[in-house]
């Protein structure tokens, strides 16, 4: 498996002082695939996304290892072979420079090209993401763009240097359904066009179902389940994945009771010694409260649950 890995992450940890928010994540991203990181607010998705680029917030310490195939120094590849579309997309654009200049500067930061050549690439990238009249719009400032156009410009910025990996943190969360589909389409097209892998961070299981090849379901800074998204969402084996799926509104009798999980996800400074999901898990037993489960391979995916072997269909326990 690691021989195929383009990006390989081992025992990644991110902590603020004594409090660990990302607690030992391991996964591989393969060339050209869409790899989703899914989980609820506070699970540690954004910290993980930023750690992949070596861009954690001030005051954070990291542990573990992130490797990009064929590169000795990951930091040198940032913005080049690996790029980020941040959760707060606007922060990726400077308000005081025309959008085209910013793209051209990004191009010239990694390639020795003339201003004219860099500019042509910038305009081509804007055109590729569907900005109408790209040559003229390249001279405009971000605030002269509509929200949807800005989102596209940020995607152009992340793909203009034809990276191997694009990390997109909640690229669609603030958008309504139509715009969400548009942005995901643009991301998918750009990924195809430049041949990049996409690490797609989202809390939306429907987005994962539609767009991801493989998925890592994250809870309280750890992986609950990792595998092909069809498998994981079609037949979850981790109770958390099952609970999350069961709580989605389904087509069914109107207003049937949704199986809601009790409580809320835990804060990183309030974790006990056992499985982080135990306080909300209807399947928890005594060992669950004492020891955190290790991930192991079950049914073609990795599952971190003490009862992964005896629970062949945890979804049944929720509905």
């Amino acid at each position: 498996m690691s021989s195929e890995a383009l990006l390989s992450v081992r025992d990644l940890r991110v902590a603020f002082g004594p409090v660990e928010a990302v607690r030992g994540l391991s996964f591989d991203v393969r060339a050209r695939e869409v790899f989703a990181l899914v989980g609820e607010s506070g699970a540690g998705k954004s910290l993980t996304a930023r750690a992949l680029l070596g861009m954690v917030p001030r005051g954070a310490t990291t542990g573990g290892r992130v490797r990009l195939r064929g590169s000795a120094d990951l930091a040198a590849e940032r913005g080049r072979r690996i790029t980020l579309v941040p959760q707060d997309a606007l922060s990726a654009l400077s308000p005081v420079h025309p959008v085209g200049d910013q793209l051209a500067a990004a191009v010239r930061s990694v390639r020795r090209l003339s201003r004219g050549q860099a500019r042509a690439r910038a305009v081509a990238a804007l055109d590729r993401v569907g900005i109408p009249d790209a040559a003229r719009r390249a001279r405009a400032y971000p605030h002269e763009y509509s929200g949807g156009m800005r989102q596209r410009a940020v995607i152009a910025m992340a793909t203009v240097n034809e990276p191997d990996v694009v990390v997109a943190d909640e690229p669609t969360t603030a958008l309504d359904e139509e715009r969400r589909e548009q942005v995901l389409r643009v991301l998918a097209e750009q990924r195809e066009a430049v041949g990049a892998a996409l690490v797609l961070v989202t809390h939306d299981l429907e987005v994962v179902r539609e767009h991801a090849d493989r998925v890592l379901v994250m809870y309280a800074g750890r992986a609950a389940e990792v595998g092909p998204s069809g498998h994981v969402l079609g037949r979850p084996r981790a109770p958390y994945t099952a609970g999350l799926l069961a709580s989605l509104p389904q087509d069914g009798p109107r207003r049937h009771r949704l199986p809601a999980l009790p409580g809320t996800p835990p804060a990183p400074d309030a974790l006990g010694p056992g499985c982080a999901f135990a306080p909300r898990c209807p399947l928890a037993t005594a060992p669950c409260r004492d020891h955190e489960p290790e991930a192991r391979t079950v049914d073609g995916r990795l599952v971190a649950c003490h009862h992964a072997d005896d629970l062949s269909d945890p979804l049944r326990e929720f509905v």
Partner: protein, 226 residues
Amino acid sequence: MNSPLLDVRDLVVRYGPVTAVDRLSFTLDAGETLALNGPSGCGKSSTALAVLRLRRPDGGKVRFEGRELTNLTERELRPLRPRMQPVFQDPYGSLSPRHRIRDAVAEPLKVQGTWNRTDGPARVAELLDRVGLDPSYGDRRPHELSGGQCQRAGIARALASRPQLLVLDEPVSALDASVRAGVLNLLSDLQDDLGLGYLFICHDRAVVRHFADRVVEMRDGRAVPA
């Protein structure tokens, strides 16, 4: 047949030259959920504000419990206001950060003049219990609650004045799936028990399909075929 709880006819809302709601009509019965669905900026929230008369419509009529609201003065509206209550999207923004939860829930009772020191606190505890919050949460301030708990507190506050109509503007959009399910279940139970009418504004189609009896699909301020 009884008249509907809410009857909106040819509603128009303008902001300067922009027409946000353009001759929109719908009715809502007690015990029923009508969803307004559509992309951002299509006029859903402007409709909510006009129904609640937090904004005076620029045209059309809004009848609530058989009374025409359009030309009422603020003073004439006052006795009707408690019967139609909003619940907004941002669970933290809709409660004052400085007030304890129990004071936020008591406030509508005080405004209405139905608060008294002997039964008031018990009524607040009952309301918190009703929305599935342990009454001990009453001592906390909004930032000491989770998003779902805060949204429940907002619903408790809306229920305090015994409304017939709740105008729910994206009430679950800010919540995670596992928490959202609990709030949707709560809204269903309250509707069954109290016969509330819900005007339910939501851009998430799966939630709308699950929760609403009927849907008005909106584009550019108008109803369009679904």
